[in-house]
Amino acid sequence: MSTPATPPGTPGGGALPTRRELRRRELRRRGRRRAGVNRGQTGAGWLFITPMLVILGLFLVLPIFMALWVSLSDWTGRGSPFAATTNYVGGENYAELLTGGGLAERDFGTSIRNNLYYVLIVVPVQTIISLLLAVLVNQRLLKARGFFRTAFYFPSVTSSVAITVVFLFLFSASGAVNRAVAYLGVNGPNWINDPRGLLHIILGAFGVDSPPGALQEAPFLGVSWWNWLAGPSVTMTIYIIMAIFTTSGTFMLLYLAALQGISGDIQEATLVDGANAWQRLWLVTVPMLRPTTFTVITLGLIGTWQVFDQIYTGTRGSPSKTTLTPAYLSYETSFNSQQWGQGAAIAFILFAIIVVLTILQRIVLRESDVVPKRKRFRPTGEGGRSSVVPVGPPVVPVKPPAGGAA
């Protein structure tokens, strides 16, 4: 079977190798698994993927294992983490963060709280806005569609650093936003430096300024019930608005692509059935966009738990640590406080949170997805005439899953 005269992989020019190569291809067509046939490609194949294997292996795979080791060690950032001066400490770093009772636990808890509110607001709102933008822009008769798409998508391509600089300016104490709301007779807050939680502010409006006794306990991650329920701080709100502003364009494109896949027939059929635009949107379009909504929420969840650039460029956790996020805390703990073990442990806990939430979301959303797409429309045709009527029940759970939180 082997052809020793031909070096593997690269048969030189000339007539003879050509014929050989022909034969090779012929053999390959007959049976791929036969020994030796693909020998040439084996060498080339591995050669071709070597750069990628080296780069991704060194900077994506290896780091995970190294960080796992560091998160279980007491490395202080001096020398190599594999040197003899570094000791294995088991789950100590994790314990310090999760049940330590000290500053580390409180900071970690606070960062989780901050990011949790960020996620709870950003994900549903950006999903709804991107869907609405897509539906608005997708109308066939709309003039200047291209202009609107460009306008809505442009913030997504610009750097998060540049956008943060712009937003810090817009939301500065005497900045554009406060000037604009002043026209409406509202006194805007000092956005950049206001640690008050939104929910606390609302409660304050009802005269609840200090925590009732029952809420003073700190049952979880060193943060009291009262502080868990603070809501995002006024300053954090800037980042929330910014996230919605910058990502809704990307997700609008995902929805647009999906909308173009929905056949005009269905839209026309519902039109004939006398459904108005609003019904068409909620009873036909939204259910049909389910797979995209699923993607958008998954990507949204993954993205929103990783807020780093904006915080680094902007407030770096201040005021009163209300803009601290796990990602930024992980960086700060490692690079500024030299607590590398703890920093790496935060990264792994964050990883776990993202994985668990993604799986959870899959389970929750899949449950209501049991009804196959086709069956959502019950053909009530008799004879040749058939029309589609959206069936009630399966449609209901389809509304943006977290819409109520908005």
Binding site: T10, P11, G13, T18, R25, T42, G43, A44, W46, F48, I49, P51, M52, L53, I55, L56, L58, L60, V61, P63, I64, M66, A67, V70, P81, L136, G146, F147, R149, T150, A151, F152, F154, S156, V157, T158, S159, V161, A162, T164, V165, V166, F167, F169, L170, G175, R179, A180, F245, T250, L253, Q306, F308, D309, Y312, T313, Y331, S334, W340, G343
Partner: protein, 283 residues
């Protein structure tokens, strides 16, 4: 008759309402960019006094003079260009090499490599922030151009795009070339790659935009002032390095300049970007 007319006037109302809503949202989306440009040409005092106006009362280029003549800004810009250009070229080459091998060449271990690639794609990048520093440091390329560039030279998503593209083009052409006696690399380089232009342009766009806007990697890969790039430099500027007080014209000027290359890329390849981002290379 009257029914039809009612429908038309109803449609007209809906249409004008749609336009009103769209225009309102478009203003919200565009205004921040216009206001940044306007403010970068204002004087310090005017930026603070009149943050809303789109036309500077006194046109001033002081912010830009300061940026270009009296700061490290040109150096940042230069570093950004070096890193972005090398990373973009590297990604085009390495991504398409790997994508070609994974889609067209049969070799043992291919399936396993591909599965690994998919797994790697699922790891959130922020989780790698500290780990990446550990490896870069261990390899002795911390605080060097190598440390800034090499880790970015290939990306899983890009390999994916190339692989999908190669799968979509017919094998016949390659076979013809192979029958003519061309080696695997020759076939790849002179036959397949030229056909992959649309996918390569997609990679160029994504790689350029990605490395130009990248921040966290540069934070963990270097510390010396000489290696600052635009994102790192402007982030430092934003948290008050060059300035006493707010200095908004200066900061916004920097933000405007760093947005220009990506904006140009965006407008040139607008159609393709819209397609690429929606998850499929359509050609």
């Amino acid at each position: 008759m009257s029914n039809a007319r009612r429908a038309t006037s109803g449609t007209l109302l809906v249409t004008s309402l749609t336009y009103a809503v769209l225009i309102a949202i478009a203003i919200i989306y565009i205004y921040p960019f216009l206001i940044s440009i306007a403010t970068s040409f204002k004087t310090q005092a005017e930026a603070a006094d009149d943050p809303l106006s789109l036309v500077p009362a006194t046109f001033s280029t002081a912010a830009y003079e300061r940026l270009f003549l009296n700061s490290d800004f040109p150096l940042w810009f230069q570093n950004s260009i070096i890193v972005t250009v090398v990373v973009t070229m590297g990604r085009v080459f390495f991504n398409s090499l790997a994508g070609y091998a994974l889609s067209r060449l049969t070799f043992p271990g291919r399936t396993a490599v591909f599965a690994g690639l998919v797994a790697v794609m699922a790891v959130p990048s922020v989780v790698l922030l500290i780990p990446k520093f550990l490896v870069i440091n261990q390899l002795g390329i911390y605080d060097s151009y190598a440390g800034l560039i090499i880790p970015l030279l290939a990306d899983a998503a890009g390999i994916f795009i190339m692989k999908n593209f190669f799968e979509s083009i017919p094998v016949a052409v390659e076979e013809a070339a192979r029958i003519d006696g061309a080696g695997t690399f020759r076939v790849f380089w002179s036959v397949v790659l030229p056909m992959a232009r649309p996918a390569i342009i997609t990679i160029v766009i994504l790689a350029f935009q990605g490395s130009w806007n990248e921040l966290s990697h540069f934070i963990v890969a270097s510390q010396s002032q000489d290696l600052f790039n635009l994102t790192k430099g402007v982030a430092q500027l934003s948290s008050g390095a060059l300035s006493q007080g707010a200095q908004f014209p200066l900061k916004l000027g920097a933000a405007v300049i760093m947005t220009i290359p990506v904006a140009v890329l965006f407008f040139v390849f607008q159609k393709r970007i819209m397609n690429a981002s929606s998850g499929a290379v359509k050609e």
